[in-house]
């Protein structure tokens, strides 16, 4: 239940199909390759100077100034040398002591959650949101409604509701909300995404009242001494509400794309990932791209379950088995068209560790979600399907992105790649997204097969205490083991899995450096990395993982001028202060796409 998704309307679909006909699986390919390098006579449009330039380049990690033109970085070096390139039209961007970094690359996240999130109100506790009391919830919703002015009867949806952060020491109820919001149905989604709190208007719209029985496996919190629902609904009781949740139409979503991308640009991210793209979402993104709505690059990973439907639609004459692809399929991947690129195919092998639905080889110490003994979780797809699909993707030259949290799920993808005959020499860079409970011997297998992990070090903070409890200190200490991976020569990315946790490169850096839980326990002190390594996993190594290291991820001549100005240098700062870092301005291919308001 990670996200709900937009559906492109049916009549719309036909239109989209016509404009992208031939885009997927076509012999002509998806877009044009970007060749590195800029022509020698490209005019210098901007020069950045006056602050440290953190290039993230091996040979020259620090520089004084950068010249940019034609969307590319033209030169990097000492200030005097770069200023000598200035021509009459050149704009000088004064850093005034702020730091210039390469634009961040989203190692893994869900871009299509962004347009939805920007139309919702954030009722999370710190550091994700502002809420520490029931009163805060009311004030936050009030402010949101004053700004957005939803029509009476229109849903107001909030996310991140978490009773454990409330100083009131109790659940929020409809009685807390009703006096303030009588005319709007309100739904505050629980931080687990497995439940919500409704106000009375919300209950009425969903037809839930004192006569509604509590379904098996669900919770309908009732008012004391009565059968009247109090507000909170969880699990199976929440499913029908979730299934019927209002969904914005395509036009509304297109209108939200500006604000959605600002979530990324305001944090210095210039390449976003849509890391589990369903067919209607892909159609939406193709349209958004072709109509020029994308200001940052979006890397899309079509989800494996929708591959048969995609083949049926885009290669109607192709005759093959369920998971077979046309020979030309690879041509649809790896190239940008109007800022949209398909990078590879997303597979999902297990669930989440905090939800106890990941797939481990050893049982959890605390049992299953319902107290089941000897609980190891379960795979999401049969191993035979994984083997067959991976063999086909390898055969057709398509990169695999496999979501795997538990070590049993990780074994499944290692087995499948090995069975397909993959070795490091193939240079495939198959990505194991999350790799959270990877074992040390599995990291060796990654090296042997040329696989690469995208870690989620934020887990050490957000769920670190839960992992210690569920898996014991030893396994929890090796969660997202970035140091061990780099020791083996693996290149890693780090991610926030937006919108599971916020897009915040500095939170990601901080958690990779500190690995400290909410309660202050350090998970695996030996797996802490230095600031430069933490930064590499968000820039050059994240670029490498999606085969874009020639054009992105560091500040070097010939690369795209994807840059971010940050008020202080993240390599110099005390990691404890990392969350205070402010993005001042973000550039995509030389053009300013975000500027902090003064």
């Amino acid at each position: 239940m990670q996200r709900s998704h937009s559906s492109a309307g049916i009549s719309r679909r036909t239109v989209i199909k016509a404009t992208v006909a031939g885009a997927l699986f076509a012999a002509t390919g998806f877009g044009l390759a970007r060749t590195p390098g800029a022509r020698a006579d490209t005019p210098v449009e901007k020069i950045f100077r006056g602050g440290p330039v953190v290039t993230v380049e091996e040979g020259q990690p620090l520089a004084e100034a950068v010249a940019v033109g034609g969307g590319r970085i033209l030169a990097v070096g000492p200030e005097a040398e770069i200023m000598a390139l200035a021509a009459p039209g050149t704009e000088i961007v004064e850093l005034n002591g702020a730091t210039l970094l390469p634009g961040f690359i989203d190692g893994h996240g869900h871009f299509m959650n962004a347009p939805q999130i920007v139309s919702w109100v954030n009722v999370s506790g710190p550091p994700v949101g502002p809420v520490t009391s029931i009163e805060d919830i009311v004030t936050t919703i009030r402010a949101f409604m004053d700004e957005r002015r939803p029509a009476p009867g229109e849903w107001v949806i909030g996310y991140g509701y978490d009773p454990t952060v409330l100083s009131d020491g109790r659940e929020l109820t409809r009685d807390d909300l009703d006096p303030h919001f009588p005319d709007h149905p309100i739904m505050l989604i629980h931080v687990s995404n497995h439940g919500c709190v409704l106000n009375s208007a919300g209950f009425a719209l969903n037809g839930i009242d004192e006569n509604t029985p509590t379904p098996e496996g669900g919770v309908i919190l009732r008012k004391e001494g009565s059968n009247e629902p109090a507000g909170l609904l969880m699990e199976t009781a929440f499913l029908p509400i979730f299934g019927n949740m209002p969904k914005p139409d395509t036009e509304t979503l297109l209108g939200l794309l500006g604000a959605a991308q600002e979530i990324y640009t305001s944090r210095g991210v210039t390449t976003a990932q849509e890391g589990a793209t369903h067919k209607p979402d892909l159609e939406f993104l193709l349209r958004a791209a072709d109509e020029g709505h994308l200001v940052i690059d979006v890397v899309s990973l079509p989800i494996v379950f929708d591959v048969p439907a995609l083949v049926r639609e885009y290669a109607p004459d192709f005759r093959g088995g369920t998971m077979e692809l046309p020979d030309t399929a690879a041509q649809s991947f790896g190239r940008y068209r109007n800022r949209l690129k398909l990078a590879g195919i997303k597979m999902v092998l297990d669930g989440s560790p905090q939800g106890k639905t990941a797939f481990w080889t050893e049982p959890l110490l605390t049992g299953g979600p319902e107290g089941e003994e000897d609980h190891v979780g379960a795979p999401v797809v049969p191993p035979e399907m994984v083997t067959a699909a991976v063999a086909e993707f390898v055969d057709k030259g398509i990169q695999v992105f496999a979501h795997a949290n538990g070590d049993a799920a990780i074994d499944m993808i290692i087995d499948a790649l090995r069975a397909a005959g993959v070795t490091a020499a193939d240079g495939r860079r198959d990505v194991v997204i999350h790799s959270q409970f990877v074992r040390s011997d599995q990291l060796d297998a990654y090296a042997e097969l040329g696989m690469t992990p995208s870690f989620f070090t934020g887990h050490t903070f957000f769920w670190g205490d839960v992992h210690v409890e569920n898996t014991g200190p030893e396994r929890a200490a090796f969660i997202s083991p970035m140091a061990a991976a780099y020791e083996r020569g693996l290149r890693c990315s780090n991610h926030s899995d937006f919108s599971v946790t916020p897009i915040d490169p500095f939170l990601m850096m901080q958690t990779a450096i500190l690995r400290r839980s909410r309660s202050g326990v350090v998970l695996g002190p030996d797996q802490r990395v230095d600031a430069l390594t933490a930064l590499r996993s968000l820039t050059i190594d994240a670029a490498w993982q999606i085969f874009e290291e020639d054009t992105k991820g560091s500040i070097a001549p010939g690369k795209l001028a994807d840059l971010v100005i940050v008020d202080r240098n993240p390599l110099e700062i005390d990691p404890e202060e990392m969350l205070e870092l402010q993005v001042i301005e973000t550039f995509k291919e030389g053009a300013s796409v975000y500027r902090r308001s003064a």
Binding site: S4, G217, T236, G243, F305, R312, D411
Partner: protein, 329 residues
């Protein structure tokens, strides 16, 4: 409007798709709303498709097939909105899913569970149960079944078939097993007689039909009001081996309350179901069980039967085909 829900589970290759394809396209007179994981896998004859609309295909026999690749909750919500168009809802659980959990999630939508049917591959099951990744899921599926359909029994050697049966008996001892080929099953064993949830349609059935070729018998059991203990004893004696049973029960301690009894395989429920509405307060239950006088029907193991299952669409009044009033006719 509540519709009975059947969950069909089972591992890869067990025949779920074959079974769904039969249900979707044969002329059985009942309208199913079916939620599948990918209807690309369900090879519906194009001539039977009335309309193809994004995530949904409508079939000429009144069934619709709805894809759940984007989320089962959303698919159920879509289909519940159209519940007036159906008599029954089926959800296909994915290959490693626990069908019991799927059923429970559907309970959130207030869909009463009719039964969990789990298919198993007679040849592959022992290997699948031993698979280091899938084994636990395969065994959980068997445990969560109300009825197990052991499919493809024509493929394994006699020794292998016995191995498979022993495995099922070990892990799901109390679950009835129907053995078949190509997922052929008498329709009434899967979904009962009559339409949808209506008890009247069920109990009206047995009077009418009589078919010597049928593999099962449907019997009407009638009694006056009795105590709960007496009823449970009767159920144990008379219905232990019934694959399905359904009807109204009159209990002597609450004669004015009509109770609904339903049994699918090992699952049974007895719940209050309104008053008698002027009808005499009598217990009236139809049971469906496998005929044991046919060769090969009963195996050495209790609770396992071989059926050959003509396609549903073999007669005119399918709901009643094969229903007879006596077991010895």
């Amino acid at each position: 409007m509540t519709l009975p829900l059947t969950v069909i589970g089972g591992y890869l290759g067990a025949g779920k798709t074959t079974l769904l394809n039969r249900i979707l396209t044969e002329d059985h007179g009942r309208r199913f709303g079916v939620i599948v994981n990918d209807f690309g896998a369900v090879n519906v004859d194009a001539s039977l498709i009335a309309n193809h609309d994004g995530d949904t295909i409508s079939l000429t026999n009144g069934c619709i097939c709805c894809s759940a690749t984007d989320g089962t909750a959303e698919a159920i919500a879509r289909i519940v909105k159209r519940s007036a168009e159906f008599d029954h809802i089926i959800i296909e659980a994915s290959g490693v899913a626990e069908p019991g959990k799927v059923a429970r999630n559907a309970a959130g939508f207030r869909l009463p569970l009719d039964g969990v049917i789990v298919l198993a591959d007679a040849e592959q099951l022992p290997d699948q149960a031993a698979n280091r990744y899938a084994g636990r899921s395969v065994l959980a599926q068997l445990r969560q079944a109300d009825v197990i359909v052991l499919n493809k029994v024509d493929l394994p050697s006699p020794a292998r078939l016995e191995e498979t049966r022993a495995l099922i008996a070990r892990h799901a001892a109390d679950v009835p097993v129907l053995e078949t080929e190509q997922a052929r099953l008498p329709y009434a064993l899967l979904f009962g007689v009559g339409r949808g949830a209506a008890v009247a349609a069920w109990t009206a059935g047995p009077e009418a039909a009589h078919d010597h070729a049928a593999e099962y018998v449907a019997e009407l059991l009638e009694r006056g009001p009795m105590s709960r203990a007496a009823f449970e004893e009767l159920a144990q004696e008379q219905m232990e081996f019934a694959i399905r049973a359904k009807g109204h029960v009159a209990l002597s301690d609450a004669p004015e309350v009509r109770h609904l009894y339903q049994k699918v395989g090992r699952r049974w429920t007895l719940v209050p179901d309104g008053g008698w509405d002027g009808e005499p307060s009598r217990t009236r239950i139809v049971t469906i069980r496998i005929r044991e006088d046919l060769p090969n029907h009963r195996h050495a193991r209790q609770n396992m039967w071989r059926v050959s299952g003509a396609p549903f669409a073999s007669g005119v009044d399918r709901d009643r085909t094969g229903v007879s009033t006596q077991s010895d006719c």
